[in-house]
Each structure stands twice: as structure tokens, then as C-alpha cells.
């Protein structure tokens, strides 16, 4: 199949050829992967609408907006380091993307044990990220008096947007961690090697599922890149 795929015209000619051909518009792409990509496109639009709302809220406020580097700074060894926790969270999430990519590679190479290990590492990183986010929420709610409806630092919407954006993102990470654990179990049990039928869907298991999971996980990291830039750094 790969040889046949490589014989197809490439580039823009390939685009018109693919869209004009019969059967498949995306050559060599399994259905599940195409579905995940289109779902991610839709999810991207949701996050972009949320971030655009944040931009509108912040740009139209007549009251001053709190300084994120101060609000999210941490006191370490007597000095306050701006955005320290956020920097660590970014590090953790990027690492999880790396481990995920390696897990996908091992999946396709049918290294069951290594695949499981890297899937679990990814899940651990994801869980660490969520716990750090939960710590941040606790600190802001309990110690600094930040509420969805007001905060002592500045514009009222700051807390509202913070909790909504990070909450929505954190929910996506949590769902990802749950699915990673499910995938890890399936890999460990050898479902993908044996082609065992799924419990709910009845569909034959295949290592492709790990790549599809990987797409979702990288998307979650991608959204964090944007949140980090627009909410924390800007």
C-alpha cells in the first residue's frame, strides 16, 4: 500500500487528484484518524471562540487587568519567581507530548511493553499537569480570594476567564488521561496484537488507535501553547 501511496501525484497536483478521485479523499488515512482530525478541527474552533471571548473581555475592560506574572508567581526560597508553576506545567505537558510520540512509534513497531510504558508515562505527566492546575486553583481560591465573580487584583472578568479557560482545558486533559489509561491497559493485555474486539464498540483493536489517541493528546498540548501565550504571558 505504501508503494501505491508513493506513486500518487504529490503537492498541489496531488490535492486536485485526491479530491477528484473515487473512494477516498484522504489517501492512506484510516477512518478513525480522519474522524479524529475533523473532531480536533471542531474542538479547535471551540477553544478559539473561548480565547477570542477572552481577548474581547480583556480588550474592552475599562478597569485595569491584573498582571498574570504577579498573580501566578510563586515564592521560592524567599524570592518571588514569576510564572514558575506555569513554566513547570508547560515543561510537563511538552514532555508528555514527547513520550506520547514515542509510544505511538513503539505501537507501530509492535513493542508492546515499551508502548505501554510510554503510554503510562504520558498519563502520569498528564495527571501531574492536572494536579498542578488544581493546586493553582486552590491557591487562588483559598489564599488569594479569587472568585469567578470577582477578585482583589483588578477586572472582575479575570477570575471568570481564568477558571473557564483552564477548567475547559483541564477537563480535556483529564479525559485524555482516562483514555490513555484505557489504551495502556489494552496494550498491556495484548488487545492490539490479537485484534480483540472492543467492549463497547465491538470494533477490532489495532495499534492505529494509539496514533489516534496521540493526535488528541498533542492537540491538548497545542491548546496549552496558546493559553500559555495569550493568558499568562501577554
Amino acid at each position: 500500500m505504501n508503494r501505491a501511496l508513493s506513486k500518487l501525484p504529490k503537492g498541489w497536483g496531488g490535492l486536485t487528484h485526491d479530491l477528484g478521485s473515487d473512494q477516498r479523499a484522504f489517501k492512506g488515512m484510516p477512518w478513525g484518524k480522519a474522524m479524529m482530525w475533523i473532531f480536533l478541527l471542531s474542538d479547535t474552533f471551540i477553544f478559539m471562540c473561548v480565547l477570542i471571548s477572552y481577548m474581547t473581555g480583556r480588550a474592552s475592560t475599562a478597569v485595569s487587568w491584573p498582571n498574570p506574572s504577579v498573580v501566578f508567581g510563586l515564592e521560592v526560597f524567599g524570592t518571588s519567581v514569576p510564572l514558575l508553576l506555569i513554566a513547570i506545567m508547560t515543561f510537563v505537558l511538552i514532555s508528555s507530548s514527547g513520550t506520547m510520540a514515542i509510544a505511538v512509534k513503539h505501537g507501530y513497531e509492535k513493542n508492546r511493553k515499551l508502548c505501554t510504558i510510554f503510554l503510562l508515562l504520558t498519563a502520569v505527566c498528564g495527571a501531574t499537569f492536572v494536579s498542578m492546575q488544581a493546586f493553582e486553583w486552590t491557591k487562588l481560591i483559598l489564599h488569594e480570594g479569587v472568585r469567578p465573580w470577582g477578585n482583589p487584583f483588578g477586572a472582575e472578568q479575570f477570575g471568570a476567564f481564568f477558571f473557564m479557560i483552564t477548567g475547559f482545558h483541564g477537563t480535556h486533559v483529564t479525559i485524555g488521561v482516562i483514555f490513555l489509561l484505557i489504551m495502556a491497559r489494552k496494550t498491556w493485555r495484548g488487545d492490539f496484537d490479537k485484534g480483540r474486539k472492543g467492549f463497547f464498540t465491538g470494533v477490532t483493536s489495532n495499534y492505529r488507535a494509539i496514533e489516534i489517541m496521540g493526535l488528541y493528546w498533542h492537540f491538548v498540548d497545542l491548546v496549552w501553547v496558546f493559553i500559555f501565550a495569550f493568558f499568562y504571558l501577554w
Binding site: A34, M48, P82, G214, L233
Partner: protein, 107 residues
């Protein structure tokens, strides 16, 4: 479905991109730590953000090696979002103008 055999990349590709992502993240963080201001700050933040996003999408999500059909299907709708950003930026400017004009100025 067995027609879809995939070739995998060498692990080096992922490790190099992983490292690059750390470098860009570090630089983004430095923009804030060193207190850059104004246009320079925003340009740098956006540049690093776009570079990181491009790396993740192209390498980790494999789009660089996919055929043009899926790449175009995914990227062209982003222009819609850019338009929405532009419209809402203009709208926010108008909102803050009316707020300052009616509620602040001359009060």
C-alpha cells in the same frame, strides 16, 4: 484495513523536536522574566507561540508527511477564526471607546 501499513520515524526526530520545544518555551518564559514591553513583547510571544504550535502540528501530529488534501482541509478554516479575531478586536476597541466616552470622560 490491513492496507494501511505505516513506516515509523527514527526516534531522533522526536527527540530533536522535543528539545526545540523546550528551547522555545524557555525563550517565551524569558520574554516575561526579562520584562520586555510593548510591540517587542507581543511580537516575540506570538512568534514563539506560532513556532511551537507549528512544530507540534507538523512533527508530532505528523502533518508534515501527510498529503495536501488533509493539510488544506485542516488549515483553511483557520482563516475564518483569524477573521473573527479581527472583527472582535475592532468591536472591543469600539466598546472600550464607548465606555470611556460615556462613563469616564467628563464625569
Amino acid at each position: 484495513m490491513s492496507q494501511y501499513k505505516t513506516q515509523t520515524h527514527k526516534i531522533g526526530v522526536y527527540l530533536w523536536i522535543w528539545a526545540l520545544l523546550f528551547v522555545f518555551s524557555f525563550f517565551s518564559y524569558m520574554v516575561d522574566y526579562l520584562n520586555f514591553e510593548g510591540l517587542l513583547r507581543w511580537t516575540l510571544i506570538l512568534a514563539f507561540m506560532v513556532s511551537k504550535a507549528a512544530l507540534i502540528v507538523a512533527v508530532f501530529m505528523h502533518l508534515f508527511w501527510e498529503r495536501y488534501a488533509i493539510v488544506n482541509v485542516l488549515l483553511w478554516p483557520m482563516t475564518l477564526m483569524l477573521l473573527f479575531v479581527g472583527i472582535m478586536a475592532a468591536e472591543s476597541e469600539y466598546t472600550v471607546f464607548t465606555r470611556l466616552f460615556y462613563f469616564v470622560a467628563g464625569s
